[in-house]
């Protein structure tokens, strides 16, 4: 891997038109005579600037529709910016759509050469790395079998393996990481980490916040196409997880349900393994119980992982009737050191979505006895 690459976005913007333009002569020719319709344009990416130097790994996070996919396409030269400029020095490699070029009737072997060529690999380069690619994908026995007989896991493994043996000067990674079974995912992630830390500039676009936190050296948070926050991965993830206040208000008014104050009866930093007592109030104006449930979620702020989720029906706690209500809530914070968000929501089991986003509370957990792992098991360790 080379350390000569460079990737730079300078106030890049991209506009799309929502209404489709004419895609047939039959529609296009008459429109030349008549008045042209004004297209409904929107900015998918607005004035985004960043630069990634050798050795840096930039994470890009954001909610759905924030512009991540558009930035990926711009990075990959699939589309061109409406304004601004993109400079990419060196050969760009992508861990995106790694099996897009596969032809189902061709064998695995033929597809390695085809996909490799699409990615810009030279024949000699593929020849040289062919055995490694096949071994990494664990497909030695099936390499001469047509790809249409592959399982989707085999397909994805082969695609990932080809892309992972390309030697780019600039590396772009989409969250394709969830390929194959667990063992392969672990191997793929290790390989990815090795590539990402190989010295080339890297851009990683992901929803998997723990991976962003683990690999990236810096991060940007996108919101509606613009950069909402720029800085360390931790800072961006915390910003990302914070619910924008406007959303709660809007939800409450339209759904006939609102949460009131949410507070911690204790105070300050909690010791890992200790219990916290929380309380909140709310008012139900018109929302019927139907498929609705109160949901409680605890999210680790460094990684964005849900460490705990429960619904009210597990606790013989009925869904609030019309009028004011007040609930109390106790939680044992058997979690590692770090900051956690406790969030409330009204969840609709039929659509599997939150219809009211509730308030959230940040809980900082510390420990006098550091440990590694995912849960606080309160070890008692002593000589007899």
């Amino acid at each position: 891997m080379s350390d000569s690459g460079l990737l730079e976005f300078q106030s890049v913007s991209k506009q799309f038109t929502r209404t489709s333009t004419h895609d047939s002569l039959r529609d296009f020719l008459p429109s030349l005579l008549g008045r042209s319709r004004r297209a409904d344009a929107f900015w998918a990416v607005k004035d985004v600037s960043f630069s990634v130097r050798p050795g840096e790994v930039l994470g890009i996070i954001g909610h759905n529709g924030a512009g991540k996919s558009t930035i990926l396409k711009l990075l990959n030269r699939i589309i061109e910016p409406t304004s601004g400029s993109i400079a990419a020095v060196g050969r760009i490699g992508s861990l995106i759509e790694v099996s897009a070029g596969f032809h189902q009737d061709l064998s695995g072997r033929q597809n390695v050469y085809l996909q490799g060529a699409i990615m810009g690999m030279r024949r000699a380069e593929i020849d040289r790395r062919f055995d490694e690619i096949v071994a990494f994908a664990e497909l030695s026995e099936f390499i001469d079998t047509p790809v249409k007989r592959y399982s989707s896991g085999m397909n994805a493994r082969l695609g990932f393996s080809i892309a992972a043996h390309f030697e780019p000067e600039v590396l772009i990674i989409d969250e394709v990481l969830a390929v194959g079974d667990h063992a392969f995912q672990v191997k793929a992630f290790a390989r990815l980490k090795q590539m990402a830390t190989g010295g080339a500039p890297v851009v990683l676009v992901s929803h998997q916040l723990d991976r962003v936190a683990e690999i990236c050296t810096k991060c940007i948070l996108l919101d509606h196409g613009a950069v909402a926050h720029e800085g360390t991965p931790q800072a961006c993830i915390e910003e990302y997880l914070a619910v924008r206040p406007g959303e709660i208000e809007a939800g409450a008014v339209s759904r006939g349900f609102s949460f009131g104050e949410f507070r911690n009866r204790g105070a300050g930093t909690v010791t890992s393994g200790d219990r916290i007592e929380l309380e909140y109030s709310g008012r139900c104006e018109s929302l019927q119980p139907d498929n609705h449930m109160l949901a409680l979620r605890v999210i680790a702020m460094q990684t964005g992982l849900h460490v705990y989720s429960v619904i009210n029906t597990s606790f013989s706690l009925p869904f609030p009737g019309l009028g004011e209500f007040r609930h109390s809530l106790g939680l044992s914070m058997n979690v590692p050191e770090g900051s956690y968000l406790v969030k409330l929501a009204v969840w609709d089991s039929r659509t599997n979505s939150d219809i009211v986003r509730g308030p959230q509370l940040q809980v900082d957990v510390g420990t006098p006895r550091p440990f590694w792992g995912n849960a606080q098991l309160n070890a008692e360790w002593k000589a007899e």
């Binding site: 895609d23 030269r77 032809h103």
Partner: protein, 280 residues
């Protein structure tokens, strides 16, 4: 200059062209019998329909059908089938890869170029078969048949240019492919495949010959089929009227047209390819 840059990029992507051609041919020739049939059926059908038309003409005019007619017809059917086949496949070559274009960057020109080259492979098989058949029937090739080399070269350039233009146009206007199919159906009668340009009279002959693909087909028919030189004008006497069926100027004309079409194809294709992913 951007054209030089484009050419360099396409040359840099030759491995991809190679892989696309291999893929198409592997899939097409997967069942060897079907593959070869594919390469032969189209020219064979053109020859057969041509023979039927010639037979009808012969019946009407009272002049018997000769072996020479059939062999010239077979020879002219090859460039026509190449061009028609390349056009119908290349027109959809970008649209049929819309998914890939929306996901991965690669030099887009490789798609129509690979399609034309794949068609050229089929044509090579067709040519070998026709040559063998003609030799078996005792057809003698003259030294003038060597004209086929430069003519084929320019035909290839012209076909590539058209392939680039049409594949690009069909992405933005999806009904271009229907237009191409119609033109291919009627093109058989606008080009001298079934009958020579002399059948249209002195003026009609010139009109037909300036139709670019007609120039190439006539050149191959005259030099390979009838053993005539392309360096001199050729005339046919139709009912007492001397009709010009070839002029050496047509050679220069064909060369210029093919180079211009290719350049226009390269420039326009590149100009619009930035918008491919959004249209795909």
């Amino acid at each position: 200059m951007s054209l030089v840059k484009t050419a360099k990029e396409i040359w840099g992507a030759r491995e991809l062209v190679n892989q696309f051609v291999r893929r198409d041919l592997t899939v097409r020739y997967h069942q060897a019998v079907m593959g070869f049939a594919w390469a032969l059926v189209n020219p064979a059908l053109v020859v057969m329909s041509g023979l039927i038309i010639r037979f009808a003409f012969a019946k009407l005019s009272g002049r018997p059908l000769e072996l020479g007619d059939a062999s010239t017809l077979a020879i002219k059917a090859i460039p026509w089938s190449f061009f028609a086949g390349a056009m119908s496949l290349a027109t959809v070559s970008i649209v049929s890869h819309a998914n890939l274009i929306g996901k991965v960057y690669f030099v887009r020109e490789t798609l129509p170029i690979a399609t034309v080259l794949g068609q050229a492979f089929d044509t090579t098989i067709g040519t070998a078969s026709v040559t063998l058949a003609l030799l078996v029937f005792g057809f003698g090739f003259s030294a003038q048949a060597l004209w086929v080399i430069p003519v084929t070269f320019f035909l290839l350039l012209f076909t590539m240019g058209c392939a680039l233009l049409l594949s690009c146009a069909n992405l933005f206007f999806r009904d271009v492919k229907y237009l191409v199919q119609i033109l291919i159906s009627f093109g058989l009668f606008l080009t001298p495949v079934f009958f020579g340009p002399e059948a249209l009279g002195p003026r009609g002959a010139i009109a037909m010959l300036v139709f670019p693909i007609a120039t190439f087909i006539q050149a191959i028919g005259l030099s390979v089929g009838q053993g005539l030189s392309l360096a001199t004008a050729q005339f046919v006497n139709v009912q007492g009227v001397e009709t010009m069926v070839w002029s050496p100027w047509l050679l220069a004309y064909g060369a210029v047209i093919s180079i211009c079409t290719l350049l226009a194809g390269l420039v326009l294709f590149r100009k619009f390819s930035a918008r491919f992913a959004e249209a795909a």
